[in-house]
Symmetry: C2
Subunit: 207 residues, 2 copies
């Protein structure tokens, strides 16, 4: 199901560029029409209104990301641990990406408007796929006896917290990513190491 034509995708790509470059205030219908060599009338025909355009940008960006399903062939503990580290690095990479930051800022900036439409879209198309991928990974680990937990959601949230900490909000606030994306592999390994000490085989379940 591809909800947009190639032409529309190109326009949306252009819109994302504008958003990343100059923030929401740089994303005007006139500006987008000029940058994408299309007419404002087409924009309104395709996306309804400006909010529709923003929503389309989010779903379009989400459609570009595909989550690699882990082949659940019997992995060794080392393989599994490496998979978690890869997930951690991927997560940090995604959250620190230009487009992700710009879209999250956009959705957060509009979180008061009618029903927080954009926030819901970001959660559904952006965060949920990541969560399902991670949950599958965690449950695979549990099935093989490498992890021990009772509540998958609880374990996932802990994993997320150990990986991301408050770096996401700091980046959203505009902190220079110099100190934040620094030594990403080391930070990933550290988080997974901590996670194993909380949920690894042999660790007691909480409470």
């Amino acid at each position: 199901m591809e909800p947009f034509t190639p032409r529309q995708n190109a326009v949306l790509e252009c819109a994302l560029q504008l958003l990343v470059a100059g923030g929401e205030r740089a994303l005007t219908t006139a500006g987008l029409a000029r940058a994408a060599n299309c007419s404002k009338e087409s924009l309104y025909k395709w996306f309804g209104d400006r909010d529709g355009l923003l929503a389309a940008m989010i779903t379009y960006q989400a459609s570009k990301v595909r989550t690699p399903g882990p082949r659940d062939s019997m992995p060794t503990l080392d393989d599994f641990s490496r998979s978690l580290v890869v997930f951690a690095e991927d997560l940090m990479g995604v959250l620190g990406g230009d487009v992700s930051l710009a879209l999250n800022r956009l959705a957060i900036g509009q979180a008061d408007r009618d029903g927080a439409q954009l926030g819901a879209l970001v959660r559904e198309h952006g965060r949920l796929p990541i969560e399902t991928r991670a949950r599958a990974l965690l449950e695979l680990g549990r099935r093989h006896g490498y992890l021990k937990f009772s509540d998958t959601h609880e374990a996932y949230e802990t994993l997320y917290g150990l990986i991301v900490r408050d770096n996401h909000v700091r980046m959203l606030l505009g902190e220079s990513p110099a100190g934040l994306s620094e030594d990403r592999p080391r930070r990933a390994r550290l988080a997974i190491s901590q996670f194993f000490r909380l949920f690894g085989h042999g660790a007691q379940d909480i409470e």
Copy 2:
């Protein structure tokens, strides 16, 4: 050092109310003047321009929060653990508060503008005091032998991640705080329990 007169404080309070109620788009100079029974000219005289007003709102709000310094009389392990739980509950309470969410949304929404002025203000007046309080607490715990870590910043970031997880961004995105602020004491105790398993006495330091 009180940088604002009582009258200006009242106006800023009113501005915060407007911001919480309707988001940034509801905070217009004309609207604020009407709501606060002052003139636009006074607003510009006091705060320079709209950005100055936004900055003043942040510093004003920050001036209201005072971080209780822990009396470092020799606490028992139980006292100390309880202090951490209290910190965790306080942190969740602050981050989930109306005004905090509105101001963070405001700063994030303007993170592209000239130098991310607001983001820096939020970091300096909002997050830094919290961090210093927590660091003092952590080092107190280490001095008494209840905690074991080499890098205070690393320990603090882990603590923050265990407490907040991704709840802050989810709330910023507009997720109903129903499931998020649910059972806050339990979540606080859980986080501190996990933290002790990573950094408590007897735990091996990382790497």
